[in-house]
């Protein structure tokens, strides 16, 4: 292992420009991936925030007795999907409407808004289907006039999230493939540059596994460094965006580590695909 490391270092030292170039290229392709991931992470975060506000509002028929309402609230509160049930009287509905409408608040003068019960759902039960079934169950109560749950934007939210996830995955795979190809090409050049050593190693009885080792380490290290560089660039980018445009959330620790590990894995993959093929030619 020590020898393999030494040979790797010789490889780096002999072609420093090439090494730096390949690390930066890898870093930039991973950086592009990192930016998309950052967008995806922030979209998810926003969606989570918005989703947590998904609620079902059931408007009550006028004159529904309080006991009936509170019994129904108990029933609804017992649904496994439901986290909280809240009664909104006509008065507080008016106050809320006024607060939301700001400067037009004086338009409302009397309590003409219907009473409602507002139902919040648990995390994990906020997808369109669950929301719809819960809403329909609530609608089945006789004294419920109407149910609103913003069906349109619940659907839209989920579609956006799915598209963002799919786009992130596809782009991620594309950039990973680019990185694999780049690493493969640099390893190919490294193999060619060291063909003399390799032929001598063969001649004196080094095994293929032994000959491959320094190149695999080289690919791994390049991927690791490229990944770390990409992460740093992405971090700077997120700082710039946070400071000048909108507040963004950076990757969590485990996710960042996963990114670097991904870079290393890509490096290892690229070099192992390349080295086997080119060693046979020497």
């Amino acid at each position: 292992m020590r020898l393999a490391l030494r040979e790797t270092m010789i490889g780096f030292r002999r072609a420093p420009v090439l090494s730096v170039l390949s690390i930066t290229t890898i870093a930039f392709s991973l950086f592009a991936f990192g930016l998309f991931s950052l967008v995806a992470v922030n979209i998810r975060k926003t969606l989570r925030d918005v989703e947590s506000r998904v609620e079902i509002r059931a408007f009550l028929a006028e004159g529904t007795p309080v006991e009936v309402v509170s019994a129904a609230m108990g029933d609804v509160g017992a649904f496994p999907e439901v986290i909280r049930v809240e009664y909104v009287s006509p008065d507080s509905a008016l106050a809320r409407a006024r607060a939301e409408l700001g400067e037009f608040k004086d338009v409302f003068e009397s309590a003409f808004l219907p009473a409602s019960i507002d139902v919040r759902l648990r995390d994990g039960f906020r997808d369109p289907n669950t929301v719809r079934t819960v809403a329909e169950r609530i609608k089945a109560f006789q004294f419920v006039d109407d149910v609103r749950y913003g069906e349109d934007w619940v659907d839209k939210l989920h579609r956006i999230r799915n598209v963002a996830t799919a786009a992130g995955l596809i782009l991620g795979l594309a950039f990973a493939a680019v990185a694999v190809i780049i690493i493969g090409a640099t390893i190919r050049m490294a193999v060619m540059a060291r063909s003399r050593e390799i032929s001598i190693m063969r001649l004196v009885g080094a095994t293929d596994a032994f000959i491959r080792r320094p190149f695999l380490i080289e690919g791994f290290l390049k991927g690791l460094l490229g990944g770390a560089l990409a992460l740093t660039l992405t971090w700077f980018a997120s700082q710039v965006i946070s400071r000048n445009f909108i507040q963004t959330e950076f990757f969590s620790g485990p996710l960042a580590a996963l990114g670097i590990a991904g870079g290393a894995l890509i490096g290892l993959l690229g070099s192992s695909l390349s080295v086997g093929r080119h060693l046979r030619k020497i």
């Binding site: 020898l3 003399r196 050593e197 032929s199 001598i200 190693m201 063969r202 001649l203 004196v204 009885g205 080094a206 095994t207 293929d208 032994f210 000959i211």
Partner: protein, 233 residues
Amino acid sequence: MIRFQHVYKEYPRTGLALQDVSLFVGKGEFVFLIGPSGAGKSSLLKLTYMEELPTKGDVWVSGVKAKGVKRRDVAKLRRKLGVVFQDFRLLEDRTAEANIAFALEVIDTPRSSIPNKVARALAQVGLASKATAYPREMSGGEQQRVAIARALVNDPFVLIADEPTGNLDERATRGVFQLLRDINSSGTAVMMATHNLDLVRRAEFRTIEVNRGQIVFDSADADTSRRKVEGLA
């Protein structure tokens, strides 16, 4: 020890390099391979260290059979034989001792034993004083000695030499050849391809002549009875 049985070697582009070659080289023998350029001497040597595998027929070297041999086993076999070439094949950016040590390191020799082995090999070829010299600082003869030291460092049972004196002047040639004789007399077999018929004539070792891919003369066939008496066959 080394056996060729009806060996054919055909290259996709250049055609048949060897046809129906059968031969046996015993322990500790010294064998000259002679013949014009392109006759098949190098192909025959490459088959011996299994750089090439036969198209037809089979080759056995120290118990390893060429047909169906695994790359791993070829690597193991090479640790038991030494190969030197006309162009030395040294690493230019490493000293003489580093070149020899390299051959030990890449086969996972314990680190502690490397310096001793390197020093012994250099002494064996008479270059103890050039241990820290780079190839470019040495004469052709000295570079070939380093290459021989590298080939010897693992105590091979056979030394395969493809035109080892091809690039050397007469004095260096005599020196290198004498070294090969010394190596042979200490028990290592030597297979040497050469164009230098002077050496062949003076030395009286077994001589195999190859022409157009076939063995056209083997001095061992001429005096098998004598060799049997001497216990070489």
